[in-house]
């Protein structure tokens, strides 16, 4: 999942970015509202984490313009202002959630999961596909009851495929949602990670279903045979 973090207080921005990345998100960070707005328009983020008081264009203005442009990205506002009118203003403008500083990192992660789920019309953190179970809250994957250990990026890839299960997901979309600007763009990095993922899941091995299907020239899809 790809997240934009707009926060001008550097120590907080650095810590949150690290926390989000370690939780498997692809994170872009900026401390400037104008740059944040440009990034939000340019990329299809799954979620935006916006500080209200940032220089250039404030967080609520970013939210307003992003919503006006038709974005359905989940938006979590973070602010030091805890007065009720501030909250109402944020929620009225289309924020999905509102966190008052200081907040627990776990809470931010939980709310991010919730707003992203909502974006993909999913109501539960646990996705079951045949014998594959993905618990995005606990960050645990099981295949046939046995836990599968995945790296953060592999998990992010699987989570994204699972949220869009049954659909063909292009390499560009995967790139856009799983990788941030810190990652080196490479033509086959997506294919490489899909390969890692298949191997760890034991996908396509004797007796098992092939969960991740390759659609030549289009991309990949995650589906259970016979159900789609």
């Amino acid at each position: 999942m790809r997240v934009l973090l707009v926060e001008d207080y550097q120590p907080l921005a650095r810590a949150l970015a690290q926390g989000l990345r370690e939780a498997g998100y692809a994170v872009d960070v900026t401390g400037d509202g104008r740059q944040g707005l440009a990034l939000a328009h340019a990329n299809g983020y799954d979620a935006l984490v916006l500080d209200v008081m940032v220089p250039g264009v404030d967080g609520l203005a970013i939210l307003r313009q992003v919503r006006a442009a038709g974005s359905s990205a989940g938006v979590v506002i973070i602010t030091a202002r805890d007065q009720v009118p501030d909250r109402i203003a944020g929620l009225d403008l289309g924020a999905d959630d509102y966190l008052v500083k200081p907040f627990a990192l776990d809470e931010l992660l939980a709310r991010l999961r919730a707003v992203i789920r909502r974006r993909y019309q999913s109501t539960t953190t646990v996705v079951a596909l045949g014998d594959l179970v993905i618990d995005s809250a606990a960050r645990v994957v099981r295949r046939a009851g046995k836990p599968v250990t995945l790296s953060a990026r592999e998990f992010a890839l699987l989570e994204y495929l699972a949220l869009r299960r049954g659909q063909i997901v292009t390499r560009a979309e995967i790139w856009g949602h799983v990788y941030d600007f810190a990652a080196e763009p490479s033509s086959n990095v997506v294919d490489v990670y899909v390969g890692y993922l298949r191997r760890k899941l034991g996908d396509g091995e004797a007796g098992g279903h092939r969960l991740i299907r390759t659609h030549r020239g289009l991309g990949y899809s995650l589906e259970v045979e016979g159900t789609e």
Binding site: A15, E22, M53, K101, D106
Partner: protein, 470 residues
């Protein structure tokens, strides 16, 4: 007694009693005299009538008494007595029963009046008349003065006069009494009504919560005398409200300023603890936390200094301060930040420049100005400290300049609102402290954008400033 009601009532009663008393005495006297004059006129008529009963027959003087009931009745009779000039009693009224009235000695033809005690002991009034007798020589109608005189005294009790006067007095007393009672009631009622408004106002004032004084006192239906008081109280309430609002904003701002670094600390700690890390990762994280704690500490110290200045609890200890050395000393804290951001620094103050002022306060002023410059000057720019034509010292930088809408507010506490932050100027509390400290040292601190696009913060003696240049 300091009661308005009692004082008003007492003074109004005193005036009323004096006025009504005087009026009553005047009325009493006028009525008494009128009644007595009336009685006298009647007595004079009676005396004349009695004198007319005497007839000079030439040899003797005859008195032909015609029966008059006033002089005969047993109860409260009138009296008369007539004398000849030689002292002989010519006649007595039957009521005298042989007793005498005092013989009057009127001068001339006019009757004389006197007050006396009647033979039966009653107080009375008497008229005395000396009248020439006439003689008829040639039959009726040819009377001429005979040369002899008759003196008549007529006396009558004054009880009717007294009764009339008593009635008048009773009416007067009743009228005065009713007037006094009515006036007292009117005063008490109207003063009470006026004071009830005052009591209502007092009760309303008593119920006002100083932190939330609205609604203010209602101005309607108040006596004119209380309206200015209510206006002034409302003005005071407005000032209190404003002051509380400022205080609340300030508290909200302080909490806001502390929440952000606190959020950073919390996030740093939680990220660091999420998994086992390499020692150098911990060291980096703890170092960053230390920086954040340092910023929070500075904010707290500035807040405390500002609060003490507000309370007037900070003593000023003047001593000679070498400016150039002080600036170098202060700059040391910001050297690292400036290096990181590629800022060049020059201290162009004369080594001989000294100023007599409080060293610690000036240090905080200079430190905050340098901190501001080091934080907001665009990377790769320069910062110069020098003395100017009118300034003691000024901190100039290469910009960017402060947006015009922010410039008047840079010394406010927590330049706030998204507008301020959006423009990239976030002053927090440092510059507010600079201005407050400057005031305590009689120094004026101002900020302006230079023609070259930079910012110049200037410190000068307060009396050298014309207008508010900030």
């Amino acid at each position: 007694m300091n009661s308005l009601r009692v004082r008003l009532t007492v003074s109004l009663m005193a005036v009323l009693i004096l006025a009504l008393g005087t009026l009553s005495i005047v009325v009493d006297q006028v009525v008494w005299h009128a009644l007595v004059r009336q009685l006298d006129a009647q007595l004079a008529d009676d005396a004349s009538a009695v004198a007319g009963m005497a007839e000079d027959e030439g040899a003797t003087v005859e008195f032909e008494y015609e029966s008059l009931p006033d002089f005969e009745r047993a109860q409260r009779p009138a009296y008369f007595q007539a004398w000849l000039d030689d002292g002989q009693v010519l006649a007595r009224s039957p009521s005298l029963q042989g007793r005498d009235l005092p013989r009057p000695a009127p001068r001339g033809a006019a009757p004389a009046f006197s007050t006396l005690t009647l033979p039966d002991g009653r107080p009375g009034r008497a008229a005395g008349l000396r009248q020439p007798l006439r003689i008829e020589e040639d039959g009726p109608g040819t009377a001429r003065p005979s040369g002899r005189y008759v003196t008549v005294a007529v006396a009558q009790g004054t009880e009717n006069v007294r009764a009339s006067l008593g009635a008048v007095r009773r009416w007067l007393a009743l009228w005065v009494g009713i007037t006094l009672v009515a006036a007292a009631l009117a005063v008490v009622v109207s003063v009470s009504r006026g004071l009830r408004a005052a009591r209502d106002v007092a009760a309303r004032v008593g119920e006002i919560d100083a932190a939330r004084p609205r609604p203010f006192l209602p101005a309607g239906r108040l006596p004119d005398e209380l309206a200015p008081l209510v206006d002034k109280v409302n003005e005071l309430l407005a000032r209190i409200e404003e002051s509380f609002a400022r205080e609340r904003r300030f508290t909200a701002d302080v909490s806001h300023e502390l929440r952000t670094p606190l959020a950073a600390l919390r996030a740093m700690i939680e990220v660091a603890l999420r998994r086992t890390r390499q020692p150098d990762e911990y060291a980096t994280a703890i170092g960053e936390m230390g920086d954040v704690v340092g910023q929070m500490q500075t904010l707290c110290e500035n807040l405390l200094a500002l609060a003490r200045l507000d309370a007037g609890a900070v003593p000023v200890r003047p001593e000679p301060v070498a400016l150039r050395l002080l600036v170098d000393d202060c700059w040391r804290s910001f050297q690292g930040l400036a290096d990181e951001r590629g800022l060049r620094f020059a201290n162009q103050l004369d080594p001989g420049d000294t100023v007599t002022t409080d060293r610690d306060h000036l240090r905080i002023i200079v430190s905050n100005l340098l901190s501001n410059a080091a934080s907001y000057t665009a990377g790769g720019g320069w910062i110069v400290v020098r003395s100017g034509a009118t300034s003691l010292l000024q901190v100039d930088d290469s910009g960017p300049g402060i947006p015009a809408e922010i410039l008047p507010h840079v010394f406010d506490r927590f330049v706030r609102g998204d507008g301020a932050r959006s423009a990239g100027v976030h002053c927090g509390i440092g510059l507010a402290l600079v201005r407050a400290l400057g005031e305590s040292l009689r120094l004026a601190v101002s900020a302006e954008n230079t023609r070259e696009g930079g910012v110049s913060f200037q410190v000068r003696a307060a009396d050298a400033v014309t207008g508010s240049a900030s």
